[in-house]
Assembly symmetry: C2
């Protein structure tokens, strides 16, 4: 059997036992232990710069666009008038970079708990941190839970761009977090949270969707292809306070010419609709979760 | 940086440099050098049994269903009356296992060049090789090229379940192969070939689609999620002799209750439609290929 030689970073985690993605590293740019997590920035042979938190790949320069576009535009295009957006997490800046592209958005408040992620991103990952510099963005270094407790009824959209449910982000997958987001939303508000993949963690995805469904009158789960995430894709749980919301049918459709100007490489309205079509085994698990 | 210890199989190939998927191996079940390729069968910790040809993962027990269902039912459900099917390659038997599920199919001819793959599959991969035992299936150990030269105008569907375009399968991606398939089809016939992923080999996928377009009046490219393939997905190039074919809209729609009886875990008509929706960057590359 072939084995990897020196100079590869391998992602090993109990969330996906027995399988591991590796990237060939040309340089370790940064390595630190922050107050919250281990932070690693790599220069790789084939995927540009890569951010790793607690041993898990968060984004690579080559394919981060699909995740950022989708976690931003699935909720934005499901809302008729998304003026005020809250981003919880997302310290690299990639989500903010996408949200500012929506012409209706007036303010973006971003709450990241780990100041070190912000600093590392600004220094090494400018292709994402550019989002943090936009004049519409107000950045807070704070705990998303605490921040929302003090800001009720203020946001049209809340995007939770978290790491996986181990470590500092674990609480962002609990029912109490969905309840808290509900109080921070304006009427008709929409939430969108990173929610893992049905191919590795089907039960966990179904549980997160259940939490969302028990809190919001409308909830759904859509996916995006991200080759460097485990199983090559990641999903998002969306919830809406507006009973009329149909996440599968965007209320705002951008024309292809507009999307070109917005430098969108992944998202359009067709991709939006298709992202909610799940394999039969996953669709069944999601529907079964309605009955719990 | 974490490194993998002993007991992992790592897939390393110049088709996707700098990135590698690894599976934790509990037992090497079989290893041989056939007349055509290196054959390896592994028992893994998390993905069941795995077939590896020339160092590339062909299928794992855990997720092979999505590939097999899609390469079979995308063409089958795009044809109004698919009676006679030819499978080129597919020696593991997984595609035949799916094709026999379609009630309209009367005969399946399968041409596999490497008798060793057939033997290994029958011995170690019975969850797939069961397809080879079906009474509708006639198995030939032969070169697909040679076989088709002698069998013109005989098939409604030709499915090419090949390995990647390095080694014995390279010729199956050339324009001459599409021309040959055309002569082996009956009027209105349809072809479907494994065609790689836009995330790792965009130019190659676009080229294969160009070959298909230059041979068939209708051609398209759809994808399936397969977590253990490079980038987590794989695509199929489809071509039809019937100008009215719209691959994005299946002419045969199976009901969910029928699909349950057929033990389909991935495919339904919604998945069929969604599989042809590509990310913007890929859609643009596919359309650009029309002009070459």
């Amino acid at each position: 059997m072939e084995a990897l030689g020196q100079g590869w970073f391998s992602e090993i985690n109990d969330l996906w036992p027995g399988i591991s993605l590796s990237l060939q590293v040309t340089k370790i740019l940064h390595q630190e232990k922050s107050a919250y997590q281990d932070i690693l920035v790599l220069e790789t042979k084939s995927h540009g710069r890569v951010l790793v938190l607690d041993g898990i790949i968060q984004c690579t320069e080559k394919d981060e666009f699909s995740y950022q576009e989708m976690i931003a535009f699935l909720p934005l295009c499901s809302h008729p008038d998304p003026k005020n957006v809250l981003i919880v997490g997302g310290g690299d800046g990639g989500v903010a970079r996408e949200v500012v592209k929506h012409p209706g958005v007036q303010t973006i408040t971003q709450v990241e708990i780990d100041a070190s992620v912000l600093a590392v991103s600004k220094r090494y990952l400018s292709f994402m941190s550019v989002g943090l510099e936009h004049p519409k963005v107000t950045l807070k270094v704070d705990d998303g839970f605490e921040f929302m407790k003090q800001h009720t009824g203020q946001f049209d959209i809340i995007i939770t761009d978290s790491s996986d449910p181990v470590g500092p982000a674990e609480c962002l997958f609990h029912e109490s977090y969905f309840s808290l987001m509900k109080t921070a939303l304006k009427p008709g508000g929409i939430v969108c949270s990173q929610a893992g993949t049905v191919w590795a963690n089907l039960d966990h995805v179904a549980q997160t969707l259940r939490h969302c469904r028990s809190t919001f009158p409308v909830a759904s789960y859509g996916v995006a292809t991200v080759p460097t995430y485990p199983t090559g894709q990641i999903g998002f749980v969306l919830g809406s306070l507006n009973k009329e919301t149909n996440f599968k049918e965007p209320v705002k459709v951008f024309q292809e010419s507009e999307l070109d100007l917005m430098n969108m490489k992944y998202y359009n309205d067709q991709v939006h609709r298709a992202s909610f079509v799940l394999p039969r085994f996953a669709e069944k698990a999601m529907n079964a979760s309605r009955n719990h």
